[in-house]
Subunit: 213 residues, 4 copies
């Protein structure tokens, strides 16, 4: 397998494992005496919501990573380690997710947990942009047909994503619950955005989705 | 790797992880004082049965997913996200499985746990059918040789599967134990069904099982 | 990817996950008051030994599975489900491993735990032989060059493996510790056996190890 | 897939799982009464640092394993089992990592935990060198273009790595915290070393990083 293929396979494996490990935190909290299971389950709703949000976040990262690597023809060691840094953040997502779910209904600690979760998203975005910036500065890594000007243009969209996540970081000091729903809305927005807006980069990535290569 | 290939690989990885994580809930319950290990193990039978049932369920999903994607030539973003939704449900299966096993022998809570398990199966079936409906409405995603009329016909069989799972949802209010055995019978039925009935879709899928492509 | 390729990839993924999940049971037991970490670690030796033995067992299964599938040219649904049955047993191995380690130094329960571990190995062997018997009875699944008579001959060697594991099942009623060491010796024997004895099947499998295909 | 390809895929899967399982130990310790979550999180810093260090260690192992197998053309059973031995050590890394983090701030036990961690790194290096020595003694396994003299030269660099890890083993008796930071520095050094020094082996590995094969 090529270096690029093995990097993609390794990344896919880490993303698949991290996304599946999220389910390990779908645990029931300690039940109060005589509380029926159904009530304990309902009371535990932050856990399910956090699961859905983080599942979408990692799933979207997988789609984005895909889209980026479709423009990339070859990898070097710098790219390898920047990708490893991105994985370091993504693989850790189950931890802030579990904390967020566990403390969402507590007055004081919900802010801390929300800030940690939002901060993780900011860190993830920074790593992803860093990866893309690295590629743009090493155009030899890109496929020949990729329009470099257009590729640079997409950086602006990524930058916008960071601003959004920074806003959720601010929001976490207002309300943990609102922050979690904000993350859900952002994730759903990205899903539909991916469905509606086709890549505008004039590159092999354009037809990437519809045509096996 | 093509988009389709990477989607299959990602799906396979999630299914493989979810199916293996099931074993993490093969834990011993708290033992009463002086109880021999052998008795504690025997008393814990719902855990093993739930493991077997969920293992078969995810395994069959893997076979079905396979069969479906053998008819598919290319993927688009809609398919990508519908598949992600299916994975969201399948990756969560260890949670209702563990709950089901843990509460099977309790009078009241066994109904709740059984309903949650059956509900998860209904949700999984809905996602799977949704995926197939999406493909049928976007025939450009199918291999050229696939007979669209026949493909539409298989939807009826899938719909039948949902009815079965809805029935187990009703059954869960009668008895948790009976519901678990019903799921076992359904899973075994699907296994043998797969062995006996060859796909009737006149498509490259027909010979798919017997011939490497 | 071909059916056979996807089956191998799925199997490899489950084996890789099961083998890595073994490390989750490398946990420290409750420490007595004031006990130094070093002593607690030493006292916990059955855990490390059980980890090594089960790691080798799953690793050898991976090598054997490989060797078998090198002779197989195509898969059908029967093979798919028999392989799933084998995976059901192998994926469960972390459970008897943890039990074995936890109860090895207890007088009474060590026999139960040892018997469960040995029983799992017997079940695994039975599934593996079942898989091979199925293939031999459906020679169309084999590569054309495979010598069927020789292939049948290897069944005898597999049968011998079951006898060995049945012996450890008997041994478990004598001593848990002896049984664990017996499993270690068997695993090491299989490792060196693989190194010394080249396949005697006159088939493409012969050069399989030395030549990439 | 070729034997070599399947070995690489199996190794990659184990490394990806082990690296992601590290996040399972990013758990909060028991909180003292009334302690805010933010303080508990800060107090738990050894956990995050240990996560980063072990993540880098396994990531670098992945890069190194890659580089080595780029020089290898075919695998035999000896290589298969030596690789399995390396995996046995790497898959266990989450255990000493968790122990190290948990006991870092304890006076006495931090030395034990640090020594276990450093010892694991020594064992990992020994297995890696053993693998490479085996390959050098079986030059038929190497690609034809590999310069055997140069390949032997790289053994010296590996030997240097073991000395470094042996030094951290000594350091662990001085201070657990210093040992952890030493491991961080070593990991970062290896990252940048990989970025700066291109392989000096005159082999197909040279252009491996820049060109998909």
């Amino acid at each position: 397998m090529s270096e690029k293929g093995r990097l993609e396979a390794f990344t896919d494996a880490i993303l698949a494992i991290a996304i599946t490990l999220l389910s390990l935190d779908l645990k029931l909290p300690a039940r109060t005496d005589g509380e029926p299971l159904s009530e304990a389950l309902l009371r535990h709703w932050p856990s399910y919501l956090a699961y859905v949000v983080s599942f979408l976040v990692i799933g979207i990262m997988w789609v984005n990573h895909h889209a980026m690597f479709h423009l990339i023809a070859r990898v070097d060691r710098g790219l390898l380690f920047l990708n490893l840094l991105l994985m370091l953040v993504v693989a850790a997502i189950p931890f802030p997710t579990a904390l967020f779910a566990e403390h969402l209904t507590e007055t004081r600690d919900s802010h801390t947990a929300a800030a940690l979760y939002s901060g993780t998203m900011v860190a993830m975005s920074l790593c992803y942009i860093g990866l893309w910036q690295y590629v743009i500065r090493h155009p030899a890594l890109l496929h020949d047909q990729v329009d470099l000007a257009a590729a640079r243009g997409t950086s602006r969209r990524f930058g916008f994503g960071i601003l959004i996540y920074l806003a959720t970081l601010g929001l976490s000091f207002v309300s943990g619950t609102v922050t979690l729903f904000a993350h859900l809305v952002i994730a759903l927005y990205y899903c539909f955005d991916h469905l509606a807006v086709r890549d505008t980069v004039g590159s092999p990535g354009d037809e990437a989705i519809a045509e096996p290569s």
